[in-house]
Structures are given as C-alpha cells and as structure tokens.
C-alpha cells in the first residue's frame, strides 16, 4: 500500500523542505539539528531553491505540498497481501455472530467456531506482525514503536473505568497519521499488548483488542494526505469519533453472544438470519455501550485531538524528520586504510 511511495521522490523531497522560510530562520536547522540531524544537514540545496515554491501562500499551507511522506515501517507487497488477507479473516472472526448459518443444524456445526477463533486470531496476528517486520526493523522504528507504545500504555489506565474516557486512541491516530499505515498497525497491536502486560490484562480478548486497535492505527495512516492545518485536525477528529464507534461496535459484536448469554430478548439467536441478528445486536449495543462507553470514547478522541493535536503532530513530525527514515544508508570502504595494508 504505502510501499507504493516512489522511492526516487524521497531523498530529493526532504532537503528542500526548510527552504521556503529561508530568510527568517536561516540558522534554525543548524541549531535544532546538530550532528544527528541527517535530513536538515543538507544546506547546499538551500540557496538554489528559494524561487521555486510560491511564497504567497499563508504560512499554514507552506508545509502542505512539499511535506515528505514518512513511512517508518515499509509495507512490502508480500506484507501487504498478508495484511489484507489477515484483515479480512479478522473481520470475519469479529463478525461471526452474523455469519453463522441460520439453520438449526448449523448450530452444532459452528458451536466451536468462536473457540477456534480465539486460538487462531493470535496466530494470524503474529503472522502479520512478523511479515510487517520481515527483513529486520530499523532500530529507529523499533525504538519509536516501543516508546510510543509505552506512552499509549501509560495513557490507557488514566481514563479506564471513568465512563468511557479512553485515552489510548488519540496518540495512536496521530502517530498513524505521521508515521504511516504500517507503523500505525504495529503501534496499535504493540500498544495494547504492552498495556495488557503492564496491567495483567492478558486473556482471550487481547488478540481481538490488538487487532481492532491495529486497524485504527492502519486507518489513520491511510487517510488522505492532502488536508493540512485545521482541515487536517478536523479530519483526524472526525476519524477519531468514527473509529471510536466502530471499535466499540466490533468489540461488542464479537463478545455479544458471550456477554449476555441466551434467554433474553437481546440475545444472539442462532436460528434467526443475519439481518434479524444484526437488528437485535443494534438494540443490544444501544442499550449497553453506545451511549456510555462509545460516546465517551468518541468525545475523548475529539477533544484530545482538537486540543493537543496540532502540538503533538508537530512534535511527532519533528521526531520523524530527525529520525530520517527515508535517508538511504550506504557503507563505503575507507580507502586510505585499505591502501596501507596490501
């Protein structure tokens, strides 16, 4: 998917970036950069470029067109196929109450289905993550993944328990936006995994939570690149709200037959068709979580993204720039030493 980024565009796109604000902040790259800042350490390009972008654009727009797409975790074609198939499989496993055949004879047939899914989903998740990191993970990506997952895991218990104030998602969405879909997927999965390990929350539900959160991160990375500034924040906030409801919806759907058992009017009825079950499920999710948890989660996402979003995005982008993911690394033989020893 994002692997389709033309690789030739990236090395050239990074250096001209600081060019438009040339006179005001001439010393900025050297001050902020230091020796580790590979991306900004290409000043020779600067004087050559100043005429190129139209400086008439308001300062907010400046970064829009030229902003390099950062892909901290490249999704190769094989990984993309795996990701796609595994997402479809995961979706089917989430939606199993609607897919189970309506005939009564199908009940015995599909009785073990959810148990099989509980066994299989971890395998699928492991396969996808292994494929995503196949060929080795850049140490910078690995460290960023770890640190952002730690932040998410630390944010999660802040709101847990208080009526759906769920703080995991906003940083996940912003990071997925900045670092790309592959990284968002991995971050969603690792965040919930680390959080479960920290709070001793490992259980059959964990693979499902990991998968759903990974989708949230993936989707944030796949949002259109074009909007910037306020439009970007608005788009991310809307995505945050939508993803909060979808997350609650699929998590409920998977667990619905277990959550209330059978024998109530809101129960899963294996003999009814998928439409009837979907209707019942809507009522169930309205009655239980849509107003409380899901709305709380959506409001948390909107408020957090609107208030903190611009600053956090800037911070993450600065880190992405300093990490210089797209800079090709090459090793060359040191000639003098080779000449010395025959």
């Amino acid at each position: 998917m994002t692997a389709a980024t033309p690789p030739g565009a990236t090395p050239g796109a990074t250096p001209p970036h600081p060019a438009p604000d040339a006179p005001a902040r001439t010393e900025a790259p050297s001050r902020a950069g230091g020796p580790d800042d590979l991306a900004a350490a290409a000043p020779p390009a600067k004087p050559a470029r100043p005429a190129q972008p139209a400086p008439s654009a308001p300062p907010m727009k400046r970064t829009s067109a030229a902003r390099p797409r950062v892909t901290a975790l490249r999704v190769g074609p094989r990984a993309a196929v795996t990701l796609l198939v595994a997402s479809l499989l995961g979706l089917a496993m989430f939606c199993w109450p609607l897919l189970v055949p309506p005939q009564p004879q199908g009940v015995a047939h599909a009785a073990q289905a959810p148990l099989l899914f509980v066994v299989l989903l971890p395998v699928i998740l492991a396969v996808v993550l292994a494929e995503l990191t196949e060929g080795g993970l850049d140490p910078k990506t690995l460290a960023l993944l770890g640190v952002l997952a730690a932040l998410n895991a630390a944010l999660r218990p802040l709101g847990a328990g208080t009526a759906g104030i769920e703080t995991v998602f906003f940083l996940l969405i912003l990071a997925g936006r900045v670092f790309g879909p592959g990284f968002g997927f991995a971050l969603g999965a690792t965040s919930l995994f680390a959080s479960a390990l920290l709070t001793a929350g490992v259980g059959p539900w964990l693979p499902f939570q990991m998968m759903a959160a990974a989708w949230v991160g993936l989707g944030a990375g796949l949002l259109p690149r074009r909007p910037t500034g306020r439009a970007e924040i608005a788009m991310l906030a809307a995505y945050g709200a939508a993803s909060a409801y979808v997350f609650g919806f699929v998590m409920n759907l998977w667990f619905w037959p277990f959550a209330i058992g059978d024998g109530t009017q809101l129960s899963f009825d294996p003999e009814a068709g998928p439409v009837a079950n979907l209707h019942t499920f809507f009522l169930y999710t309205l009655a239980t979580s849509a107003f409380g948890w899901d709305t709380g989660r959506a409001i948390t996402n909107i408020v957090a993204i609107a208030v903190l979003g611009p600053a956090v995005l800037a911070t993450l982008r600065r880190a992405a720039r300093r990490a210089a993911f797209d800079t090709p690394v090459s090793f060359a033989a040191a000639e003098p030493q080779g000449a010395r020893r025959p």
Binding site: H109, A113, A126, L137, P139, L145, A200, T264, L316, R318
Partner: protein, 407 residues
C-alpha cells in the same frame, strides 16, 4: 542461586531437596494449568463445581503468587467476574421477556415501539430465568477468573521470551515499552517541577499541553537516542535473510492464510463438507505458524538463563490437563450433574469424578516450589530485557551458576 553447587552434582540438575528451592515457575506452565481449569469450567454449569474451581484457582494463587505488581491483579479479576454475573442477571430481569413458570415477582411492563422489535422491558421475573442467568454468568466468570489466575501467577516479561524468533523485533519493541513506561512517571514529575519553578499556573488546558508536549518530546528524544545506541552496538546486523528462506516463509504464510480462509468458510457454511471446516482451519493455522517459525530462523539469538521445563512445571501443566480431561470424560459418562436441570427446578448435585477432576487442579499449590520473595532474594527483575536481552538491558549482570566439570 543459593548454594551454587553441591559437590558431586552438576549444576543443571533440578534440586532434589524437599521443600524445593524457591524459584518462579515457567509462565507457560501456569498458563496451561489455568487454561485447563478454564476448559473444565466451560464444560459445566453446576454452581457447586464452578465454586470449587474458583476456590481451587484462588487457593493456588494465594499460595504461589509472588509479590510482583501483576500478582495483585487477581482481585481485579474477581471483581470482573462479579460484574459479569450481575450483568447477566440484570439483563434477564430487564429484557427477560417473561419466560419460566415459577414467577417470583412482577415488575411494571414497559413496551417499546415497533422499531425495537417489540421488546418489552421488565414484566414477570421467573426463578428459572434468574437461575439460568446466574449459572451462565458464573461459568463465564469462572473462566475469566482462571485467566486472571494465570495473569497473576505468570511473569509477563518471561512470557515475552517465548515469542517466536520472527517476532523478535516486535518483542524487542514491547520490551522497550515495558522498560520506558515506568520512566514516564519520572519524566512527568520532572516537567511539572520545572513548570513550578518557572511559576507557571498548574491548571487548565495550557497546563495540560505544557506537560504532555514536553513529556512526549522527551520520550521521542529518548527513543532516538536509544536507536542510535542500538545501531552503534550492531543491532540489525542480521537483517538479511537468504532468498530461499524468505521464499519458503512467504509461501508457507500465504498458503496458511488461504487455508484459514477456506476453513473459515467451511465452519461458517453449514452446507460445506465437515472436512472443510475445523480441520482446514486448524491446518491452515498450523502452516502459517510453520511459516512463522521458518521466518524466525533468520534471527539467531542466545537465551540468557533460559527457562527450563522441570518436573514442577510438567506437574503443573499436567494438573491442568488432567482437570480438563477428567471433566471431558465425565461429560461422556454421566452428563446430568454437569448441567443441573432448570425446567423442573432442582438442587445441583455433585458426583465423584468431576470433584476429583477439580481437586487435581489443586496439586500445584503443594507440589511446586514457592515463588521467591523479595525479602529473601532481590525483586523479580533478575532477567532484564525479556525477549532479547538486547536493548535497554544494560546493567544487572548476574552471574550464572557456574558449570564446572564434575571431578
């Protein structure tokens, strides 16, 4: 670690003294034990049996948990179980729809409009309904509590070591996350102190941003510093895999996933032949897992103090397996007492085999070594760096019990 080496005995052999030396058990053993109990619980709705399983799990947890933070989580799972039961019963009362003969009491009915599928709220509440909800809820709660027992007994960081090699990088980043998370608290404290010294107001939206952004910046800087440290120590050196292995991995993974797709179709379509169902599903999963293992061979790593399966571990896992197996056996022989009847209400009874099955789960409480306590030995962080021993795993050079040739 106490008493490095008794003369005449190689260091590797498990100690034959009784009581055995305190050591943490392999986390996998605890998980197998707990899953055995949970499977056993899933086979019955008899509240007496379920209560016994709960008691067994709780007793083993109390006897064998250490004093690490995760050991305190068992209470949380008990609360969760109680919540599940209450939810189920409450649902039966509110949405029950008045099934059952033995009406206990009648609440005023509230019919909902047609869009809500003609559901009515409240109404007559029957004993069968309440008991049915209670039995079902208790079963699920027991399974959840069993999982909680595993959570509070098994060391999560040791569990990370068991990740397959293909997940080495992801495991490493989770290790980074687990290591960094406690440092964030310190980071927040530092930022707040700096703000106070500057005389900034402590409340409101600005304060939130003033704390979160510096903490985020600090964490990101730290991650880049960590990455530089890792790169300079040669991390990522093994990144290249030979093309043949990569091809085999790819083929296995894709074929496995396609197999899972077919199996899923077979499971969810009643008209499909039975062979297309669960066998294909599990077979596809196994092939994908094989791909995972083959792909993991590119990462060569050594284990620092690997966790070994010793008799105590085997016994613990075996106890769980025995509980589950005996319960399955009972389900074949006399299933009546496993599912107490509701339609003529009857008092649940116990028969011998299931009781023995549940009691088998109690064995680890007595026959396994005690966990190390922090008073006697240093706290439970002797292994650093979990899966890798790599990033962030500096310091803490514990000496391994020396292996010397027996004279």
């Amino acid at each position: 670690m106490s008493g490095d080496r008794t003369p005449g005995r190689p260091g590797r052999r498990p100690s034959l003294t009784w009581p055995p030396l305190a050591r943490p058990l392999h986390p996998g053993a605890w998980w197998l034990w707990a899953l055995g109990l949970a499977v056993a619980a899933s086979r019955t709705t008899n509240p007496l049996l379920l209560a016994m399983i709960l008691a067994v799990a709780a007793y083993v947890v109390v006897r064998r948990r250490g004093d690490a933070p995760w050991a305190l989580s068992f209470r949380m799972y008990l609360a969760l179980g109680a919540f599940i039961i209450v939810m189920r019963v409450a649902f039966r009362v509110v949405f029950g729809g008045g099934q059952g003969d033995t009406v206990l009491f009648t609440l005023p009915e509230i019919p909902l409009p047609e869009a809500a599928a003609g559901i009515r709220l409240f109404g007559e509440v029957a004993a069968e309904q309440l008991l049915g909800g209670f039995y079902d809820g208790l079963r699920l709660a027991t399974m959840v509590v069993c999982v909680g027992a595993a959570n509070s007994l098994a060391d999560p960081k040791r569990m990370l070591k068991a990740l397959p090699g293909a997940l080495y990088e992801v495991g490493a980043s989770v290790v980074v996350a687990l290591t960094v998370a406690p440092q964030l608290v310190e980071s927040v404290r530092r930022v707040r102190r700096a703000r106070r010294l500057r005389g900034a107001a402590g409340k409101g939206r600005r304060a939130l941003r003033g704390i979160i952004i510096p903490v985020l910046e600090d964490a990101l800087n730290r991650s880049l510093a960590l990455a530089a440290a890792m790169a300079s120590r040669g991390y990522g050196r093994t990144a290249g895999a030979d093309p043949r292995t990569r091809l085999i991995t790819g083929v296995l993974v894709i074929v496995g996933l396609v197999g899972v797709c077919g199996g899923l179709y077979g499971v969810l379509d009643a008209a499909a032949p039975p062979l297309l169902g669960a066998p294909l599903l599990l077979g596809g999963g196994a092939v994908a897992l094989a791909g995972l293992l083959v792909g993991g061979r590119r990462v060569r790593r050594t284990g620092y103090r690997p966790d070994r399966w010793q008799p105590a571990e085997l016994l613990t896992a075996g106890a769980g397996a025995a509980t589950a197996a005996l319960m399955f056996l009972t389900a074949g022989v006399d299933p009546e007492n496993l599912y107490p009847s509701l339609s003529p209400l009857s008092w649940p009874e116990l028969s011998l085999v299931p009781v023995l099955a549940v009691l088998a789960g109690l064995l680890p409480a007595f026959l396994t070594p005690e966990p190390p306590r922090s008073a006697a030995t240093p706290p439970a962080a002797p292994y650093t760096g979990g899966a890798t021993g790599g990033p962030g795993a500096g310091g803490a050079n514990r000496t391994r019990p020396r292996k010397e040739p027996v004279p």
